[in-house]
Symmetry: C2
Amino acid sequence: MHEIKNQYIEKQGYHDVTHTHHQGHESASHASCITVVPIFNHLEGEQMEEIMKVTKSTSFKKGEVIYREGDISDLLYIVSKGKIRIYRLSESGKEQLVRILNPGDFTGELALFRESIQEAYAEAMSDTDVCMISRNDLQEFLLKYPTISLKILSEFSNRLETSEKQTTRFATEKVDTRLALFLAECMESGDGPMEIELPMSKKDLASYLGTTPETISRKLADLENEGYIKQKSGRKIEILDLDGLLLV
Amino acid sequence: MHEIKNQYIEKQGYHDVTHTHHQGHESASHASCITVVPIFNHLEGEQMEEIMKVTKSTSFKKGEVIYREGDISDLLYIVSKGKIRIYRLSESGKEQLVRILNPGDFTGELALFRESIQEAYAEAMSDTDVCMISRNDLQEFLLKYPTISLKILSEFSNRLETSEKQTTRFATEKVDTRLALFLAECMESGDGPMEIELPMSKKDLASYLGTTPETISRKLADLENEGYIKQKSGRKIEILDLDGLLLV
DNA sequence: CGAAATCTTGACCGATCTCAACTTACGTGG
DNA sequence: CCACGTAAGTTGAGATCGGTCAAGATTTCG
């Protein structure tokens, strides 16, 4: 897979402005932008080569907006380096952090399969490289290799499940519980046995959990006073009593 | 399309218990259980016939549970008659109404494309007929006719968009606003120019909007006092000032 | 018609937001 | 590598929103 040459994916970008094009490191880093994606990682070499032919690469600098609400977008963006912040504005103008994309994650899917515009914002949190596939190229590919559709459907199902679960939490749980559940989920996908590192600032966490930084600060202090957790330096938190935490 | 015979879809049900099988009215009513579904309504006669061969039909009486959290489900359910209530229980045991299915709507999709169990509950709100397709049959069909996958992807995109928008509302808007937005959306899909009929009881509406019946009652009374709406008999509400309503 | 469910209204209280002041951490440029 | 400015985080006090409990009115449906 790593033999795929840059020439296949470097042609020209879709964006004709501001963005500097990916400058082409070693080919392995390019390959990863596709092969790393769960949707595609079962492809055979030939199919992989085919989809990489229609893939373009672009870079965004920290803080740059990749798309915004109202954009007519028909690109699927796959993160190959960096982090992207996906957020929405509610009807009354308040911002909510929806998710953070890491290398291998993708976005743009909501506008990809329907005639519509973006309803969210995507912003590079650091210098970021993305690969892009246009709607037409992707759909052609899906019709040719239908198993990929099933992969995408599976991914959509998961995301839908997550989103609906999240909605139910917002609808029925108070901040304590939402925060505790968030910490518990960090544990699952986590590093050390009983220590986690928050994947975002507390400000972003507040936005993600639908509350304010002040409340996050207080609730974490409460959890610490009650002996469930211990806040360490940086964004690290030691979980002292996971079971207790989940009964909050 | 209407010539499709009952024999194609009446064989035996997947459920070998309690549920009485669909008793077969005229074939037109059967055809509608499939042809009415947006995913399938572009099919040619031949394909339609093929999918109806693997479709089974079952009835549920009011109050019966169609699936529950934890069920290993690999069926797609399509409502042909009646109403189905989809709800979830949060981690702390509180119920939230997720959606109400009407004829033509489908459910079960979340467990269909991934190895997983149901995480929601589906309950017949009235005597209900559903058509069912098994995961294997559906996937086979999708691989054979890839354009249907694109239809389903489109449907999933829409639902994901709706769900994420809903999450953001819960995260950032207060009850007043959520209620006002709900009423406004009833208008869009509504009957009369300035009159809507709530599609559910106020108790269910409270559950759907993540609040309590008491609060719904009070907020509607407030909106009425402020001259934005007028509550009529039944579940009808006259919208007097839509613009004002949306600024609440 | 009557039981049960839904809906309404009031009183009270707790959770969380807002505003404000302050401290701490971080990135940038000299 | 340090100093500074800005952003992030903390903490307190007060206000508000919305939930809970309770009683009563109304509707629905068998």
